[in-house]
């Protein structure tokens, strides 16, 4: 009886213990706890966004992690990266190391190796890392476009202001012409009388008719279906749509960052969207610039 | 000490109750302890009670198990406390005496304490007053 009990207990303890140890060992093995690690030292002037345990990626694949961060006697940050056995082959003497700070998600250290045949990086060498700041780059990209938009808007404001202003150039010309024609029509006989030449009076009249035609044409050019102002309006509408899109994209950024801090896939898609929107806005602004006269010549020249 | 005040452990088999002493104090392995107990039980022709528990034992069997437990102590000095309370169904000390005789090689001394009015059961007229 006792023997049987002892055997059963022994069997139970052995089997469950083996199961537990095997599970933990498998987990440890999968996490790379048993593989030999190679350490490389990198340097950086700033430790901002660097943390222990941060992933080290090669071609988007995690090959290691940041092991230790410490300052040397010159105040330069030394970063020790740990790369397990088979992955150390991707780190060569010509490899470059960059700290990638994405808009969303945690920072990562990226290894780029162009020539895999070059000798492997010796552990004693200290390589400097470059910093790629995703958010700042995007902001930098948006900034000039926004400035340009601002410029165009000021320009349009000035033109429309000029057209609307009773003392503006266009209105002044139109008013003068009106007065002149009125006067001239009244004093046709007077010209004839003064010059004694009906031809002269006729030519003056023709000139005035021409002025009228030009005015109609100008009007058409400005306000017609294919006129400048509707075109500007169309482009501006387009810009508004693009800006709304940009706004929506930025809303998405906030949403995604709240949902999952390291959803890099979504983030990449979003970044591409922002980039293309910014590029298309820049193109539209260029078009507008072509249509509108430059800042230095705000007056519309009449023929 | 064989007394009703020191009962057998109810959730242990008879042989474990006996073997326990040597296992605990001398770290005697299970197997050896069991064979030792069985060897003693054989003297009484009671090997069959080895795996029985306290409640399943008769009064005599219980007394024997208690006695064997007491002799397991090294240089045992046996104290029988009112044995007729443990085995009320016997009328004289023959069973007690015979039981002690069978294991006389295992203890140095034996003292029996009982009420004065039981002295005739022990066949002594001038029993020591208790």
């Amino acid at each position: 009886m006792l023997k049987k009990t002892e055997f059963k207990v022994g069997l139970f303890v052995v089997i469950t213990s083996v199961l537990i140890v095997a599970s933990i060992a498998y987990l440890a093995y999968s996490k790379g706890l048993f593989t030999r690690e190679h350490t490389f030292t990198l340097s950086s002037t700033t430790g901002e966004d660097l943390s222990e345990g941060m992933p080290v990626l090669f071609s988007g694949y995690r090959i290691g992690r940041v092991g230790k961060l410490e300052l040397n006697d010159k105040g330069i940050l030394l970063i020790t990266i740990r790369v397990p056995e088979p992955h150390d082959q991707w780190i060569r003497s010509n490899s470059t190391f960059s700290l990638y700070k994405p808009l969303i998600g945690s920072s990562r250290l990226i290894v780029t190796t162009n020539d895999l045949s070059s000798p492997s990086l010796s552990p004693g060498t200290i390589r400097e890392i470059t910093i790629i700041n995703d958010i700042n780059e995007t902001i930098k990209k948006v900034q000039p476009t926004l400035e340009k938009i601002n410029e165009v808007v000021t320009n349009i404001e000035r033109i429309t202001g000029n057209l609307a202003d009773p003392q503006g150039d266009v209105n002044r010309i139109l008013r003068n012409t009106e007065t002149l024609t009125a006067n001239l029509s009244k004093k046709e006989t007077f010209i004839e009388m003064a010059t004694g030449n009906p031809e002269s009076a006729k030519s003056v009249n023709e000139s005035l008719k021409k002025v009228k035609d030009i005015l109609v044409k100008t009007d058409e050019q400005l306000y017609g279906d294919d006129g400048t102002l509707p075109l500007i309006r169309k482009i501006l509408k387009d810009i508004i749509v693009k800006l709304e899109k940009l706004n929506a994209a930025l809303d998405n950024v906030v949403k995604i960052s709240a949902d999952a801090s390291d959803s890099t896939k979504d983030f990449k898609l979003l970044r591409a969207e922002i980039d293309s929107t910014v590029t298309s806005i820049a193109k539209l602004v260029k078009d507008l610039d072509k249509i509108l006269p430059s800042k230095k010549e705000p007056e519309i020249k009449l023929p | 000490m064989i007394s009703l005040d020191a009962p057998l452990i109810s959730n242990l088999d008879a042989w474990i109750n006996v073997a326990l002493i040597k296992q605990y104090h001398e770290n005697l392995p299970n197997k050896k302890a069991k064979s030792l107990v069985l060897h003693f039980l054989e003297r009484y022709g009671m090997e069959h009670i080895a795996d029985k528990r306290n409640a399943a034992l008769t009064n005599k069997e219980r007394f024997i198990v208690m006695l064997l437990r007491a002799v397991m102590v090294r240089n045992a000095l046996i104290v029988l406390d009112r044995p007729f309370m443990i085995i009320p169904d016997i009328q004289d000390d023959r069973f007690i005496y015979d039981s002690l005789q069978l294991i006389s090689d295992s203890f140095k001394e034996c003292h029996i304490f009982d009420y004065k009015w039981f002295e005739d059961r022990y066949g002594i007229m001038n029993a020591e007053k208790n």
């Binding site: 139970f12 987990l27 | 452990i9 104090h25």
Partner: protein, 261 residues
């Protein structure tokens, strides 16, 4: 009013005394566990028997329960995260919920219901029957012979059974997710491995040990508090089991706080 405050004061003092008493008892037992002389042949035999009664006897029921409960739990988790579109959290939910929370909890409840109550009654009966005094008569230390093996058994049983529950639940969950949701074994294993953390497993193992220690220590202490009267047995069992339940909740909360740190 004064009486009411007095009652509160008395209750607080009793609770403090119980807590202090259990802690003191725990330290005594712990000290004995690490003493070599505790481990004699008699004690080892008790330990083997205790593990047999607590773990081996319960094994068929426990295995079936683990498979059914594990499949059910993982099925529910899979369904919910599928509906909510949280597939990427599958690993974390399975490891965090099934492995580190549910499996020790179910195991400890089962062991407490079956073995702790039995131990409580057993010690109380031994006390009433004067069997503890017998051991004392023969110079057998009750702590070494009775308590230490039972408490070691508690630790070993809860640890092993809980691990077994986790392994069985996750394995049955793997088959379940393959059959019902068409999730391949590789994907399932990778999801689990990605979320498994050695630190969490350490906490889990420590938690199991603490659970096992207290769900056997408290009933033993409670059993000892029985008087020589037979009617004190049910009272001792009742009080012991309530204390065990409070201890389970207390340890669970503590471990949650520790994990979240």
């Amino acid at each position: 009013m004064t009486e009411f405050i007095e009652k509160i004061g008395k209750a607080s003092m009793n609770a403090t005394a119980t807590f202090r008493d259990i802690l003191f008892f725990a330290f005594t037992i712990l000290a004995r566990i690490f003493q070599k002389k505790t481990y004699n042949s008699a004690m080892k035999m008790v330990l083997v028997n205790q593990i047999y009664f607590t773990s081996v006897q319960i094994l068929p029921l426990f295995t079936v329960l683990s498979i059914i409960l594990g499949s059910l739990l993982i099925g529910i988790v899979l369904q919910i995260i599928k509906n909510l579109g949280l597939a990427e959290y599958l690993g974390r939910i399975l490891m965090g919920l099934v492995v580190t929370e549910i499996s020790p909890f179910v195991t400890v409840l089962l062991v407490a219901l079956r073995s702790s109550s039995a131990m409580n009654a057993e010690i109380a009966v031994m006390k009433v029957n004067k069997e503890l005094r017998t051991l004392d008569t023969y110079n057998i230390d009750v702590i070494d012979y009775l308590f230490v093996p039972r408490i070691i058994n508690g630790v070993v049983s809860v640890l092993l059974l809980s691990a077994l529950f986790s392994i069985l639940a996750l394995t049955s969950g793997m088959i379940f997710s393959k059959l019902i949701f068409g999730m391949s074994f590789d994907v399932y294993t990778n999801v689990l491995l990605k979320s498994a953390d050695i630190y969490d497993i350490d906490i889990y193992l420590i938690k199991c040990c603490i659970f096992g220690f207290f769900i056997t220590l408290i009933p033993i202490r409670s059993g000892l508090s029985a008087s020589d009267d037979l009617t004190s047995i049910p009272i001792a069992v009742l009080q012991g089991m309530v204390k065990v339940f409070i201890a389970i909740i207390f340890i669970e909360v503590l471990s949650l706080i520790l994990i979240s740190l």
